[in-house]
Symmetry: C2
Subunit: 142 residues, 2 copies
DNA sequence: TTGCGTGCAAAGGTTTTGCATGGCA
DNA sequence: TGCCATGCAAAACCTTTGCACGCAA
């Protein structure tokens, strides 16, 4: 987990306030920036990018990269602390749906990654990309 | 799967020849372009991008998008059916290092996600975030 | 000969950065 | 008061595109 900001600024409060009101909703940096400016904020785009990156660092926000060209998506997740052990996120690349999974088998790979590969997995920031059941059907991938 | 090229060009042969010689090795479009030019090729970067994209379409090459900013990585996989089965990527949140893992145990979760949760994992797009061994030590997380 | 593939340069779009200013503690 | 965070604009970066030319079939 990265460092928290030292100061509580108006811009950060505005930004965070907006995200918190829409937990689980995907928005781009531009979305956030446009909305806040419409609301009369004087926030600049560099601040939006800097704060979003920081919130990702703090684990309050997830960042999704769909492909290299389109803008990244951000989503408020809050501080679901340790209660969510064995909780993972799957994101459908086709419809964009985010699936929350509780699964001990998946929790086991966390253990395995650490024991065998000395890699300490961060489940809150790891997203499994793929195709959900519905999209497999509609794409004839089944 | 997309369309194959209609013509067999010198540039495509050069590019493909280089990739084939290094199966499983990650390289960026710039890597490929630089190498070929060093070898005396007159290939242009747009051709490199266009051919790489086409090879991905044909299933001969894998494309990895690690994060939105760094360049995409390409890797020759050939027409081996289960392309790069058991290949996963871990990214250290602290130092940014990318770790390339071949691990059957990890491959098993792919199967599990499909059988139990009907989610078809895309290993090419999925990156495990966490801390590498060195950074755990230097951060006193161990 | 046909028209696909190429090369160059420029555009495109997202994200980062330099630097002076302003505001939190 | 000290110095972190901000805003603006410009830069950086990877990738795509327009267009004329060359080359494979």
């Amino acid at each position: 987990m990265g460092m928290r900001p030292k100061y509580k600024t108006k811009q950060r409060e505005e930004l965070l306030g907006y995200l918190e009101r829409l937990p689980g909703v995907h928005m781009t940096a531009a979305d956030v920036c446009d909305y806040l400016k419409e609301q009369g904020s004087t926030i600049g785009q560099s601040t939006v990018y800097r704060q979003l990156e920081r919130l990702v660092d703090e684990g309050l926000v997830n960042k999704y990269i769909i492909d290299g060209n389109s803008p990244a998506c951000f989503e408020y997740v809050g501080s679901q602390e340790p209660a969510c052990s064995g909780c993972f996120h799957c994101k459908c690349e086709a419809c964009g749906k985010l699936i929350h999974l509780h699964c001990d088998e998946l929790a086991a790979i966390q253990e395995h990654l650490y024991m065998e590969h000395r890699f300490r997995l961060d489940p809150l920031r790891t997203v499994f990309y793929g195709l959900c059941e519905e999209c497999q059907k509609s794409q004839g991938t089944v």
